[in-house]
Amino acid sequence: MTYAPNIRIIRVMCSGRVAPQFVLKAFIEGADGVLISGCHPGDCHYQEGNYNALRRHRLLSKMLEQFGIERERFRLEWVSAAEGVKFQQICDEFTEQIKKLGPLNLNGGKDEHREA
């Protein structure tokens, strides 16, 4: 089973550990998309960390849009440890989606906003 090679994984113990700074840092460093994946709601290994991840994702998505980063570049998907195939499909599909969007040009986005 192989998934898109341009995905790089940063492991944390729980989706609740994903701080908004990590996502922002990734975009600043040059990531074209960020995917957070964690246990299904109600099935959290740490009880409710994934609910916190969900809330953070909602808020952060709004913020990223204001920065000129398309909503599609930041995704949250529930994938349990037993769902290898699902993870593969999501990775491939997400990579396809990002490819269609093209590379993220953060500075260009910023400049446009300033002019407007």
Binding site: I10, V12, R17, A19, E29, A31, C44, H45, G49
Partner: protein, 590 residues
Amino acid sequence: MNNDKKIKLTINDKPIEVDEGITILQAAKMLDIDIPTLCYHPLLEPYAACRICVVEKKTGENSDLVTSCNTKVQEGMVIYTDSENAAKARRLNVELLMAQAPAAKPVQEIAKELGIEKTRFEIEDPEEKCILCGLCVRTCEQIVGAEAISFIERGKNRTVSPPFGEPSEACIGCTACAYFCPTEAITVEDLYGRKVIHNELNLGPSTAILVPIRQAVPMVPVIDEEACIHFKTGECKLCEKVCEKEAINHEMEDEEIEIEVGSVILASGFKPFDATRIPAYGYGRFDNVITGLEFEKLNNASGPTEGKILLANGEEPKAVGIVHCVGSRDKNYNEYCSRVCCMYSLKFAHLIKEKTNAEIYDFYIDMRCFGKGYEEFYHRLLEEGTKFIRGCVSEVTDLALTEQEEGKLIINVEDTLLGIVRRIPVDMVILATGLEPGLDQNEIARIFNISCSQDTFFLERHPKLAPVSTFSDGIFLAGTCQSPKDIPDTVAQAGAAASEALALADKGTFELEPITAEIDEERCSGCQLCIGLCPFTAITYNKEKGISEINDALCKGCGTCVSACPSGASQQKHFRDSQIFAEIEGIFIE
């Protein structure tokens, strides 16, 4: 009562010295002199209605007839219980009672003892049993405190009745009046004429004081507040009066006791699936549609029917249908298999076969005989002649289409082996209801900092490597709170949980997660944002220092608090912000 004062009297020429305030009847009892009574009961105020206890009291030359049950002893009394005058009066009273209530057995017995064969008075109703002794009225008033019945009318029309002769709202249905009635004039009947009410069957005594189950630990009786008369009317307390050890206390309340322990084994069990949730099966609508547990009660040799398999009308069933997977393996209710139902259904089929001549139909989706000797048992049943029909029951109805179906319950089922839809008329339907997680499963999980799987059964640490442990150290699982399982499996798991707990106690220490979070005292502003977020209640606020602190023993290292900390004071070991930032930077180095 002044116990010091003694009174001397003679009864049937026997002298006796008794306490002041007692009655002649009680004094006679001390001398072993038998005075017949009907309306007397030691727990109730004497009423002197039947006048059978009449005795002769002699004061010098004068002679007087008094009722011994309510006449108090007096100094120098001379009493004859069987003198000619007394006996004559008693015979007359018995004859009067025979005319009033010819069908009353105790009256007939006393008449027989006294050698009276016939009453010389006119008999109005040969079926009458009530002797108007007032025991029921006094019981209802003095013991129950409901005052739902009383005497009405006068003279020969006098009778016992609730107000206006209609069922009274004051009546709490305790049936104490029927219990106290000496002549069975008051009886208890089911308004609907049912003889066996399956869903009200109780194992063991159905009184207000009971041992909840036969295996109860500790083995002591408790008072059922819902059934106890005292909690309805504030009266009664009869049990308190008769308990010589004074062990009964109605004022007792629940109390909370704190016990310090090292580990906890959760064995909070399951909840049986509520069969009324599948209306098509008619549970609650049809008297003879019962659940597996109700059948167990019915079948119990020490149960209310003494182990006889009976329909609601008290007859033996001629055909019984057992429906498997009720509430299990069904996406509308529970998707999982409850594991125990197949085997208990087979057991039922075997028992019904043994006890009755009924035809037995077993409706199953798949036969799951997974344990030791289970498959062999299934084959035994196949040989015994139980009819197994593979298919899901769609409906249980009483709507008869043919003459044979009249008065029966018809099971509508698709026989998937024959490929046809069948209608099978039976007398009794047993629903093999599945196991559901307990009602307060999530609440318990929160208290003990453990997780539930998606079906809300408790989640074990690992299905193979740690099946009795949880994510909280020192909390272990046993039985159906973790997943549906039968008794052998539950016992095995409980044994494992007990030894895990012992092993932990023996070692005296446990290993901490290496990835717990820690709070930098210098940076923590004491905003307490993390406290609300921690699912394991591992963080507490230290008021003196004005900072939040993490309990390493409780922290599981999820890092939720770390990503929420606005000042970066909270950091997770091995997953520090700086480490993750470095990882991210590392990814983008060309």
